[in-house]
């Protein structure tokens, strides 16, 4: 077996040193009536070659990559990942290292996370970032918990209905066992009218949570929302899109107290849902109330600069039930991807990527809505994503696109009751910097718009659908 060492003679020698007759004797601690009396019922072992053949075949049954064009959104996107990012995270010293509790043995990771924290602060304009949380849904929930700790208000959290339904669902689950009221503010025309909040955000509110650009792709009024929260002593929590900060105003500049995000857009592949990156930033005054790991810079006993995990007394392994959170991991490898990505694109590259997303999305929206029966669901500014309605239903629309090799979505129906009823027959379309004008034109042609000028993209074959 590939990953084992002990040969029979070595096993005998070891047992002799231990003073046992057999390996079975070492398991004497396990009571006989608990012992499994049969082998586990698992599929037979595969050699590397057989494993590869099996998995390639299964991978082939998924509709992804290759010649297909991905215009799917909803928090995860087909953004470009430079090869150098993959190269960096392929270093065994990074991906097979453990949590850097022994600082002297982990300066590589510690410095990388410190640089991650630094870059994220520069990206967002916020004071401090942690070394990451699991993903955006838990980042939103952790922000709510922190707001409760900071304000001392444990009874009410207000969240806009234009926040990603799955982030709201996670928040609901996290609050379910606590005596806390979760108020969801209804949306108008794809966004929330700040005036609607005046009655709902009060001095019992721990925080106001919004997403910008929001789940529907639309821009909210972030400065006004932050101001409203502040006026009643509540914290403002914004879930942002990292790529959008190439052109949009930063959370730190419009006054957010806490800014969280799904960091998948920063050099992380889609992987059917994870692992991803929960970005978490906030004001300096909350640094001792923040969840998650923090890497700090200090000096060693000889005065040399070095990095360590700090403020650990707040974490679960020391604080136990009074911990700021129960989180035990940061998304180390994914934070490293984001760090490498941001290092490679720099300020100009981020701006370029961001502008391309915005321009191409608007081009696509314009062309798609010229197809008879297709309209934008909302008359609001958007960044790289928009919501469409179609006469004849979005399912049929999606299916036609799919047959022509284009993947759109998600449909709102996927989220059931978490998305308001009037929107149940709508669809998200996202356009990243990877999409070309030709692809967009061909999509439109396939859906019944103007003719495309070139050969189309291979259609979805019967076999690919299993």
């Amino acid at each position: 077996m590939s990953y084992l060492f002990n040969t029979p003679d070595q096993r005998r020698e070891m047992l002799r040193t231990i003073g046992a007759e057999s390996i079975d004797e070492l398991f004497q601690q396990v009571p006989a009536d608990c012992r499994l009396a049969r082998p586990l019922d698992l599929p037979p072992a595969l050699t590397e070659m057989e494993l590869e053949r099996t998995v390639r075949s299964l991978a082939g049954k998924n509709v992804a990559g290759g010649d297909r064009v991905c215009l799917m959104g909803g928090g995860v996107y087909d953004h470009f990942i430079p090869a150098a990012v993959d190269e960096v995270v392929s270093r065994g010293e990074f991906y097979t290292a453990y949590t850097p509790y022994q600082a002297e043995a982990s300066q590589g990771s510690l410095q990388a996370f410190f640089e991650y924290q630094s870059l994220v602060c520069r990206l967002t304009g916020m004071d401090v970032s942690n070394a990451s949380l699991y993903e955006a849904g838990t980042a939103v929930s952790e922000a709510a918990f922190m707001a409760m700790r900071v304000t001392g208000r444990h009874e009410k959290v207000v969240v806009l209905g234009s926040v990603h339904p799955e982030y709201r669902q996670v928040l609901e689950t996290y609050l379910s066992n606590l005596k806390c009221e979760l108020v969801v503010v209804g949306t108008h025309n794809g966004t929330v009218d700040p005036a609607d909040l005046k009655k709902l955000v009060d001095d019992r509110t721990a925080c106001l949570i919004f997403q910008h650009p929001n789940f529907f792709g639309c821009l909210e009024e972030p400065e006004e929302l932050c101001r409203q929260a502040r006026s009643v002593g509540a914290l403002s929590v914004v879930a942002f899109d990292p790529i959008s900060l190439g052109i949009l105003r930063r959370p730190g500049d419009y006054g957010a107290d806490v800014a969280v995000a799904e960091g998948q857009s920063l050099g992380i592949p889609m992987q059917y849902g994870g692992p991803f990156l929960g970005i978490f930033t906030c004001r300096n005054e909350f640094v001792r109330k923040m969840p998650g790991r923090l890497v700090g810079r200090t000096t060693d006993r000889q005065g040399r600069p070095c990095y360590v995990l700090t403020l650990q007394a707040r974490e679960q392994h020391i604080r136990r039930e009074k911990a700021t959170s129960n989180i035990c991991t940061n998304q180390g490898l994914l934070a490293l991807r984001a760090t490498a990505y941001l290092s490679l694109v720099g300020p100009q590259g981020l701006k370029e990527a961001s502008e391309l997303c915005c321009r191409k999305a608007h081009y696509a929206a314009e062309r798609l809505t010229r197809i008879p029966g297709v309209q934008l669901a909302f008359d609001r500014p958007f960044f790289k994503e928009f919501t469409l309605r179609c006469d004849g239903g979005v399912e049929a629309f999606c299916a036609r696109a799919r047959d022509a090799g284009f993947d759109l979505g998600p449909t709102m129906r996927r989220f059931g009751e978490a998305v308001d009823e009037p929107l149940s027959d709508a669809l998200l379309v996202a356009v990243t910097e990877k999409r070309t004008r030709r692809e967009i034109d061909e999509l439109v042609a396939a859906l019944g718009g103007l003719e495309a000028t070139a050969v189309g993209i291979p259609a979805l074959r019967e076999t690919q659908l299993g």
């Binding site: 001792r288 650990q312 007394a313 707040r314 020391i318 604080r319 009074k322």
Partner: protein, 130 residues
């Protein structure tokens, strides 16, 4: 500070009573247990606090410890200087390291506290079982 004139709580806070007001801090035993102090959070002036209620926390590299009020009253003064220099707390926990001053509203609540001898015995007991 005459240590024998103080009253002590099981959670290692001390209290020094002068008529209606009292001064509160933590003992040298507590400070030693915490080792290197890194941060302290003290309450705001004007707050009313009940005996046994948490009035703040003190953090070391190893642990964060809650501070429990040894008596009931209104917080009339807080030692803001501690936040900037925790060395004062480690060096002089009974003097310059005081944390807050209370206007006692229920002096009878002090009766449950220990005197110096009882407190020293309590510490010896804790050390044995550590």
């Amino acid at each position: 500070m005459d240590l024998n004139s103080l009253k002590y709580a099981k959670s290692h806070e001390w209290i020094s009573v002068q008529g209606q007001t009292a001064t509160v801090g933590i003992t040298d035993f507590a400070v030693k247990q915490l080792t290197d102090l890194v941060h302290i959070e003290l309450p705001r002036k004007g707050r009313t606090i009940r005996q046994g209620e948490t009035f703040g926390e003190v953090e070391s590299v190893k642990a964060v410890s809650d501070l429990y009020a040894p008596a009931t009253g209104e917080i009339v003064e807080v030692n803001e200087a501690l936040a900037d220099d925790l060395g004062v707390l480690s060096d002089d926990p009974f003097g310059k390291g005081w944390m807050m001053k209370l206007k006692l509203s229920d002096p009878s609540s002090l009766s449950g506290l220990m005197d110096r001898a009882a407190y020293e015995a309590h510490c010896a007991d804790e050390s044995e079982h550590a």
